[in-house]
């Protein structure tokens, strides 16, 4: 939809996974560790089989700014549920992702709406994320070739900087992607997305690294569109728990409606 609320946790995981899958590249092998080892380790760090969280999303645009609070649940890569808890006007609005399908629930009119594929590139909840950001599964290793154009110290921190170039047939909208990862704890610090002309389109920053749900995670993510540097969307995790007790039945249309029949 124009603003499909999608899953914060899923988004988080997708981005995190994107940053980690790069370790599969031969260049990462050069660092002395097997790519798969690194991947497994970080996957364990940042991904649970399932998760539950409470997220605040602060959107700043040229014309308005607002903050949404939402509860998010996820299971694997296929299932997620987001329910808005504030502000009051949008309380109860919810989005369900099940496989490739995305549904929204609108409490005001008590209707569920399936988001058509044509609107997957639309803005998510008026933010600087697209629906596609949230729904697309982590296919980074299938879609990109990897290089490490920089390995060394930036701002006193040992980092890798990766260059991700889409494979010719990959269904990717970006011309190339750059990403920085700290060696110390394998935390991503930023990702830059470029279009086919090599122009920066948006920057994603990770910050506020702390332990939540027993894992070290970047608790804050900020998206800045390159053409409007004054605008941003900031996603902050207030609560995060991993490997919670949910099954696929939880991600149902009934639950999307908040249990209302």
């Amino acid at each position: 939809m124009v603003h499909t609320p999608a899953h914060g946790t899923l988004l988080f995981r997708r981005l995190a996974a994107a940053s980690l899958l790069v370790f599969l590249s031969p260049a990462a092998d050069a660092s002395g560790q097997s790519a798969r080892e690194i991947l497994d380790r970080v996957d364990q760090l940042l991904r649970g089989r399932s998760s539950r969280g409470h997220v605040e999303m602060e959107i700043t645009t040229e014309h308005w700014s607002r903050t949404l609070a939402m509860d998010v649940w996820s299971l694997g890569t296929d299932h997620s549920l987001v329910r808005v808890t504030a502000p009051a006007r949008e309380e109860g609005m919810a989005t369900l992702k099940a496989g490739r399908e995305v549904w929204n629930y609108l409490p005001r009119v008590d209707r569920t709406i399936k988001v058509p594929p044509s609107l997957m590139m639309g803005s998510w909840m008026g933010s600087h994320f697209t629906n596609d950001d949230l729904v697309k599964e982590s296919r980074v290793i299938d879609d990109y070739e990897f290089e490490i154009p920089f390995e060394g110290i930036r701002d006193g921190e040992e980092v890798w900087e990766f260059l991700l170039t889409p494979k010719p047939e990959a269904p990717v909208v970006w011309g190339h992607v750059e990403e920085q990862v700290r060696k110390r704890d394998l935390m991503p610090t930023w990702v830059r997305y470029f279009d086919e002309d090599g122009t920066l389109v948006r920057t994603l920053r990770f910050s506020d690294f702390r332990v939540m749900g027993g894992r070290l995670v970047p608790a804050t993510m900020t998206v800045i569109p390159a053409d409007k540097p004054a605008e941003s969307t900031v996603l902050r995790y207030h609560e995060l728990a991993f490997d919670i007790d949910v099954d696929e039945g939880f991600f149902s249309l009934r639950n999307l409606r908040g249990g209302r029949e």
Partner: protein
Amino acid sequence: MSDDPVWRRIAWRNLGRHRGRTLITASALAFGYLAAVLMVGLMDGMNAELIENGTGLMVGQVQVHAADYLPERNMHRTIGGYEGIDLAGFLRRLESDPDIVAAAPRLYGGGLVSSGDQTLGGVLFGVDVRREGEVTTLLSTLREGRAPRAGAFEVAMGSEMARQLDVKVGDQVVLVAAAADGSMGNDLFTLAGVFSTGTPALDASHVLVPLPDLQYLLAMDPGRVHEVALTTTRPWDTPVIAASVERSLSAFGPPLRVRPWTELRPELAESVELMGSMNWVIIVIVFAMAIFGVANTMIIGTFERRKEFAVVRALGTTPLGVGKTVVYEGIFLGVLALAAGAVVTGPVLVWWHNRPPDLSGIVGGFAWSGSMWRPILRVEYSWDTPIVAAVALFVTSVLAAVYPAWKATRVPPADALAD
């Protein structure tokens, strides 16, 4: 030169000597005139059809926007900025311009239209239903139901969209749209009418929402609109009128842009211009064909009179005098043909203009430059075409006489008489 009346009289008599031939030649020219005027009229009719369908349906002849609204169509760039305007006062002010016939405010939103399991993306087109009818024909394309009423949360949508959503008049649809305050506007609306414009893009994507209801959905004040479409008294003069309206609004406050349809639909304006240049091609081809026919007749006519020319030359006529006779013949022939052509063409034009043959049963319409063309052979009147064609006819008949005239001046009296 004092001999001219004599040459003219001789020329006129010569035409009368072979009445049948003169009649046929003049008929050919007259028919050429009819063909040229009619074909150009048909082209003009096709142009008018393209312009009317391309602008009359939705665009309107002139549009007023905030200076920074196009081309991004950012929903926040309303006329008068964030504050909006005193809409009623603004419309009154526009309509007080003697060149402006009517003004219709519009608001655009992008959103989802949903019913049951079906959801589509659509353009939410907010209009003042009464005023819109004075500026465009969109509302006259309602095939089922009626126009939506303001304040009742009713909408009309295109037939293709209704088909895809599987809804009929009276059903409820959900509209969801990103509102101006960043929230997600959503409400239930009743489908009051279904329109079918024949333009697939419109019928599949547009939802007509009464202006106040769309403003509510998008969390915008009643004074906020993106566009005011205008109908003018002189559609062909829209660039001039647009410029004068823009000047008159320069003291309004936030900068506004006023654009004529030629700027809003440049591809359509270019098509129209291209067709205009085709008119010249038609005229040239028709009369180029005529010129050989006429010249042929006149060459035969002069050849037959070789002996005659020789006699008048022998009696002391100058070669110029002989030439003049032939040229005058061409001129008289042209005048005759023109008179006949005008007498025939006038009624045919009027009849065709009023009763254009409708070929809808034989061929379908097609879209060209984003405008729908119905297979109706309209003929439009114009002032310049009959005059241009008349001049062309006249020039043709004179030019066709020049070569025979030159040949006539070269007739050697002694040789010709000796034959």
